[in-house]
Amino acid sequence: MSHKQKRILAVISAFSLYFGLMPTASAMHIMEGYLPVGFCIAWGVVCLPFLAAGFMSIKKVLDENRKALILLAMSGAFIFVISSLKIPSVTGSCSHMTGTGLGAILFGPAAVSILGLIVLLFQAILLAHGGLTTIGANTFSMAIAGPLVSFGIYKLCSKCKVNKYVSVFLAACLGDLFTYCVTAVQLALSHHADTTIMGALGKFMLVFAPTQVPLAVIEGIITCMIIMALETYAKPELRSIGFMKEGR
């Protein structure tokens, strides 16, 4: 084999190794122990005001209607189950939804922040996705930043009279992409050994893009399908959680 052939072989095997790893790629939970202590605490503190706001809003709803506790708990369990199931993906590998985009569209970002925190704790302990020390960072990217963007886009689109399904797709898809960007920023801020922060950010974005970008599109499509089916079969239920205010 000539030198050039060897190099081509090396590149090809690197690629196949890379895509061979994909089957186990799940959503971007930062794993246990990956962030330095300072960053763990800092991200936790950043989350606090959002969580407090979510807590207050849940409390207010519960004071008016006790039944909402059961409904909230069901929604939390729904988000957990949706995010723990394998979704069909293009390469035949198994990947998971984040489910928080759907949650934000259905239940609003305030409730999702608290539910997301609990779901992430369960995911860390029961599924070994994420961890206890990184729960602050994960909560910020998955339960606060992503859902806020999803909800904002959804509201903006419905203000601008965009087709409902298009807006649901955009909300879920861009929310997912935003979660991925925030996670890359979190990783880059704490680990930039011999480059600048921007360089590290670029590298993290590049490495996770092949898994996360298709996943975001699939998540958008599936969320759209779920909303479509729900509107056909579950109008009263959707009205009860305030998703469909216009009584058709």
Binding site: E32, A73, F204, I222, I226, A229, A234
Partner: protein, 258 residues
């Protein structure tokens, strides 16, 4: 359906006081993350691994399998830390690509090794907790630590509902598969969407029924659950204190000598 949940109910350490296990796992985890040293990570990995596998009776291969769960994340992000794209080659190795080099330095190589070991050791701490402590016990500990009552109650309900919804979803998925619901990519996407929406519908129905049942049993806004309590043993507490103090002293000592 959730393997970790099944394993922890069969663990031999299940009836040890949950507070002890929680304290051991969290303190060791913090020490491990704070020190970020290769030696500490190896010690922690060995100790928690031995405790979980030999004292807890978790099958060894299961344990290894679960240690590899976060591997994809670990490998991908470590690749991003180790490899650099620059015009000048660094000291470890350099692969020329056009006018650029994919390159790495010894410094970032050691950084990556340190990070991988720290992360694996922390995961083993987490596993010590989750393989040996059933979730209700952990929630009980959180309640005793004055976590807001609403949050603990919500967690309790969510934990219960997760299993209800999982069994519903697996039944639906199974019947979809037996009717060729995954025959091609488009169909499987459609099946997943249908399954998820029916799941939400069913869960709302369940929630209504459950609320009626609770109301008819005098539900007044608080859930009363009988907690099983196992007394803490003095031997375990001393062992935890001694181990973590030694670990701390080791970390401080290393800090002085290096």
């Amino acid at each position: 359906m959730i393997t970790i949940d099944k394993l922890c109910y069969n663990s031999k350490l299940r009836y040890v006081n949950a507070g002890e296990k929680f304290a051991f796992a969290v303190i060791t985890l913090l020490l491990c993350v704070m020190s970020r040293s290769i030696a500490v990570a190896c010690i922690v990995l060995a100790v928690t691994g031995i405790l979980t596998v030999y004292r807890g009776g978790i099958p060894f291969f299961r344990y290894i399998h679960f240690m590899s769960v976060p591997l994809a994340f670990l490998i991908l992000s470590t690749l991003a830390i180790m490899f650099n794209l620059s015009h000048t080659p660094l000291d470890l190795f350099a692969i020329p690509v056009g006018t650029w080099y994919i390159t790495s330095s010894w410094e970032s190589f050691f950084y990556a090794v340190q990070l991988i070991l720290t992360a694996l050791a922390s995961v083993s701490c987490l596993y010590f907790l989750s393989f040996n402590t059933p979730m209700p016990d952990i929630m009980n500990v959180l309640g005793k630590m004055h976590c807001p009552k609403l949050l603990v109650e919500l967690m309790m309900l969510i934990y219960r509902f997760i299993f209800v919804l999982l069994s519903v979803s697996s039944a639906i998925t199974q019947s979809q598969h037996s009717r060729l619901g995954n025959k091609d990519y488009k169909t499987s996407l459609k099946s997943f969407g249908a399954m998820a929406s029916v799941l939400l519908l069913r869960s709302f129905k369940r929630a209504n029924v459950l609320y009626d049942a609770m109301e008819s049993r005098c539900y007044d806004g608080t859930l009363h659950v009988l907690n099983e309590n196992y007394p803490p043993s003095r031997k375990h507490i001393w062992a935890i204190i001694i181990f973590d103090t030694l670990l701390l002293l080791f970390i401080i000592g290393k800090g002085i000598f290096l």
